[in-house]
């Protein structure tokens, strides 16, 4: 199953619901394009909902890092929501768990973003 992403706006935050595989190739390219597109539109508050991500590989983790730095470099914020156990464990192992702001509750995640 390839990656699917749908975007919805909640307050000033773009919530991206991602499902499927974030892996080398199509999944990573799609995520990269999506982030680039949001930044081009001036949307600098991004919440990636990973609840339905079934598989992520080292390239997918790299793509999350790339998205995080791209948004941060533009003065924005990128946060993660609802990690599966597999993704949670991978971020722990790679020591990225402390880099990302990670939430389990969407409403609390939304309210944690700095207001524009």
């Amino acid at each position: 199953m390839s990656m699917k992403a749908t975007i919805r706006q909640v307050d000033s935050v773009m919530v991206v619901d991602i499902s499927g595989r974030i892996t080398l190739g199509e999944g990573c390219a799609q995520l990269r394009e999506l982030i680039r597109d949001q930044l081009t539109k001036g949307n600098k508050r991004v919440l990636l909902n990973l609840a339905d991500v079934t598989y992520i590989d080292s390239s997918g983790i790299g793509e999350l890092v790339s998205a995080y730095t791209a948004v941060s470099n533009q003065g924005g914020q990128l946060k993660l929501l609802k990690l599966t156990k597999k993704v949670h464990d991978l971020l722990q192992i790679t020591k990225l768990y402390t880099v990302f702001d990670i939430h389990d509750d969407e409403a609390k995640a939304i309210s944690s973003f700095q207001k524009p």
Partner: protein, 146 residues
Amino acid sequence: MTSEPSVVEVTLESDLKNLEVAEEIVRRVAGTAGFSEESEHQIEMAVHESMINAIWHGNKNDASKRVWLRFETYKDRLEIRIRDQGIGFNIDDVPDPCSGDNLLKVSGRGIFLIRTFMDEFHVKRLPGSGTEVTLVKRIDPAQQPK
């Protein structure tokens, strides 16, 4: 360990589409070997990352080249060999992706994950014919099928 292993061997085209083929084989082999679901996922990821290294870095994404996989299931362990037609790499040259300067790098976590998830990881250069990596995961006797 003297008993003969159960062997599954396959040669795949050097194409990223074959990652899922390799993962399916891993699930079947690891599933019957008696690994826990978590160990099965770890093996699957280790093979996935090794396949990427073989296709992308070893064979330079050249579809005319091949990746060879061999799974040997012993009573106490699963040994997986993955061979490509590339020039290989030195394991000591692979930087630690968790160290400060590397933490926010986009790439460089594949080998680290393989080493984390498997009990053994070896790289062997095969002069004139490619590179072979060996992944070993020991089977917890408590998890073995009755």
